[in-house]
């Protein structure tokens, strides 16, 4: 969404991230940090990944305090 053309060219092959509900603290830091806006809040403030939009860049994994994100 906010990516430059160069970043889009460098975009990795899509490997969507997975969120572990039992570890997630619902803080939404991953939502703010996703360059593709691929994560939004679902029911009960549980983040949900739009797998079609996820580029697999792993930024969300780096910023998660709870260790709740991993590549599928």
């Amino acid at each position: 969404m906010c990516m430059s053309a160069a970043e889009r060219v460098c975009k990795k092959q899509s490997v969507p991230v997975h969120i572990l509900a039992e570890k997630c603290i619902r803080c939404g830091v991953c939502i703010d940090d996703c360059p593709e806006a691929a994560i939004t809040y679902g029911d009960g403030n549980m983040p949900v990944v739009d797998k079609a939009a996820c580029s697999g860049c792993e930024k969300c994994i780096e910023v998660c305090c709870a260790g709740a994100l991993s590549l599928e």
């Binding site: 969404m1 906010c2 939502i31 806006a37 809040y41 679902g42 403030n45 305090c65 709870a66």
Partner: protein, 429 residues
């Protein structure tokens, strides 16, 4: 073509909620867009405390209690915010060094801080906004905005589908890591100065052996590494305390720091019978503030435009005046220009690099002194007893707090040589 709304407010934090409430109260057609599906729930780490009667950023906040509820007064802007949750009076503040020496400040005349429950505060504000007639779209992420002649189109994403709403004006209150600021190019002249994760874990049954108050934990053995750590009362539950840490990447280190502090440190006994009840987190990104937080028909308020943070009271100040700014705009006056002047005049960090340095001086000071020096200074302080903070003139805030502490340390005749020089250098920085 007419816009869908007079104003869309993106972000239902303290800034956006006040704007939505006050704008709806003034008769505007308001849409509040919030990324959380349950907008009131507090999931983002904040200090959860108002500094009481310590003026900062053009505003002074005080609290009065009546019949089990409270009112938060904003004296300069002349508005009140109702609050019905638990409120904890904190007359004291503490700082602990590596060996456990305690420097304590106390203000017996009135509390230095009031700790509140952010979820209750947000729920009260949300009900005010909805009661005044604002519409809300919850679970919707504001992903972009485009200015058009005399209106703005906001793109919203929900469950993988996008939609667009239009308004005469947009208030971007989407926080410290504002996606709208990034997408609209407002961060191009704002290089990231500092960035790091924050984790807060709230426990019930903590045996904090002092009267309630904010505690700064400084020793590296206490945390098992770098970063800053804080322990403070939490109003979410009876007898609850929060432990908050910020450190460097990877973010998962935050959890290790808190585990170390609560199970292995000198103060682990405080947590011997404690039960973890919930956690919040945040990503602190410090950029230079927006000097002019406006682009076309979009105004950025609160942390979205700030140097680090406006603090909750500052965010509310922004939200209150943003509603007025929109009304002025729609009446044909340049309300956003008026707001920009207010922003620059009241937030000392806007356009003043020295004030920006002062804003972080206490953290720079404590971050630069070795454990042994802090043990020495805090031991001297502990021997002298609590520092009396009575009287406004001694009330410290984020801007003068660093210099107030350095002057206090320089008042110790035992502080000599290299340590005295370092303190003086920091005082002059």
């Amino acid at each position: 073509m007419a816009a869908d709304y007079d104003v869309i407010v993106a972000g239902a934090g303290p800034a956006g909620l006040i704007t939505a409430w006050k704008a709806a109260e003034k008769g505007l057609k308001v849409l509040l867009v919030e990324k959380k599906s349950n907008p009131a729930e507090a999931v983002r780490t904040t200090g959860n405390a108002f500094r009481n009667r310590s003026p900062i950023n053009g505003e002074m906040v005080s609290v009065s209690k009546k019949d089990g509820a409270a009112v938060i007064h904003f004296h300069t802007s002349n508005f009140d915010v109702p609050y019905s949750g638990r409120l904890i009076d904190a007359y004291d503040r503490y700082s602990f060094s590596n060996s456990g020496y305690c420097m304590r400040t106390s203000r017996s005349a009135c509390p230095q801080q009031y700790f509140y429950d952010m979820s209750v505060l947000q729920e009260g504000l949300l009900n005010k906004a909805l009661g005044a007639g604002a519409d809300i779209l919850a679970g919707c992420l504001a992903v972009g905005a485009e200015n058009e002649k005399n209106r703005v189109r906001l793109q919203i994403k929900r469950h993988g589908t996008q939609s667009v709403f239009s308004a005469s004006r947009l208030i971007a209150a989407d926080g410290l890591n504002s996606r709208l600021a990034e997408c609209m190019g407002l961060n191009e002249q704002r290089p990231v100065m500092l960035r790091g994760p924050v984790l807060e874990m709230v426990y019930q049954g903590v045996e904090f052996p002092y009267p309630p108050g904010f505690a700064f934990i400084l020793g590296s053995d206490m945390k098992g590494g770098d970063g800053f750590m804080f322990v403070y009362p939490h109003a979410a539950a009876e007898n609850a305390c929060a432990v908050m840490v910020n450190c460097r990447f990877p973010a998962a280190k935050c959890l290790d720091r808190i585990k170390h502090f609560t199970t292995k440190s000198k103060f682990a006994s405080w947590f011997a019978h404690a039960r973890h009840i919930h956690s919040t987190a945040a990503m602190v990104t410090v950029r230079p503030p927006m000097k002019k937080p406006v682009i076309g028909n979009v105004l950025f308020i609160g942390d979205a435009a700030a140097y680090g943070e406006t603090l909750v009271a500052g965010a509310m100040f922004c939200g209150f005046h943003a509603a007025d700014a929109v009304c002025r705009e729609l009446a044909g006056d340049n309300g956003f220009e008026w707001y920009c002047d207010l922003w620059a005049a009241n937030f000392d960090f806007v356009g003043n690099p020295q004030k920006q340095k002062d804003y972080t001086k206490i953290l720079r000071l404590y971050g630069s002194l070795p454990d042994a020096d802090l043990d020495f200074l805090f031991r001297l302080s502990q021997e002298r007893g609590p520092i009396d903070m009575t009287g406004q003139e001694k009330g410290s805030n984020e801007y003068n707090g660093g210099n107030v502490m350095i002057d206090y340390f320089l008042g110790f005749s035992e502080v000599k040589g290299e340590l005295r020089s370092r303190l003086q250098d920091m005082r002059n920085s």
